[in-house]
Amino acid sequence: MATGDVAVKTAPESTDKTSEPDVLDGPFNIRQLLRIDEALAAADERSGLTFSVYVGPLHEPTVGAARGLHDRLADPGNSILIAVSPEQRKLEIVTGENVVRRIPDRNAALAALSMTAAFGSGDLTRGVVEGLRMLADQAAP
């Protein structure tokens, strides 16, 4: 399996797995998707953890919503979820049980700060890529 595959997402009305073009309905163009994909693969490889990025609406409270998404990952204990809601201007970073030891909340907050700075200037891609890099650096064994 190529680790480079861009994952899938999900417009409300389409539940089938082959909804490849859906990802283009998101806020990113192809070049930005490739950058994010590359950053995700690099972060996974560097840290040995599973990184995941969600960009879309979160119900209130957003912390609970992001944790709910994190629970849906195959191995939540070793996973990090970055959930961004541009509409609500909220960012949530959720780290699993085993990740907390490598990325203390204080360091996660530092990454969050750098990400929100990029988001505030309207650059979702740069924020996501930068956040992935910072978190992966901190988690690197």
Partner: protein, 96 residues
């Protein structure tokens, strides 16, 4: 050089250049401008990325999206629903 040639050169050429440049500027960005701008309306589909897509159930993500859109169920119920699987989690929040 006749008057006609003079007019064509001094007026026609600049006009042609202006039209070409305007066409390039407005023609290429004519489609939907896919870009998030803070404070503007945001109507993009939710996306969820994983380096290994098999690690998440796609159906689960679709459920979640439908869930947020209906938003009719009480919030308290939603959060207790995911509580049992939640171990110790850490993280950080931010807004902009």
């Amino acid at each position: 050089m006749t008057v006609l040639e003079t007019v064509l050169t001094l007026v026609g050429v600049p006009l042609a250049v202006i039209i070409v440049v305007a066409g390039l500027v407005y023609g290429t960005s004519g489609g939907r401008n896919k870009r998030y701008r803070p404070g503007r309306e945001y109507d993009f589909a939710p996306v969820w990325f994983l380096a290994r897509p098999d690690d998440v159930t796609v159906a689960g993500a679709a459920d979640y999206v439908n869930h947020t859109e209906s938003a009719s169920t009480p919030k308290a119920l939603e959060s207790t629903e995911s509580a049992p699987r939640a171990g110790v989690k850490g993280g950080a929040s931010g807004n902009w």
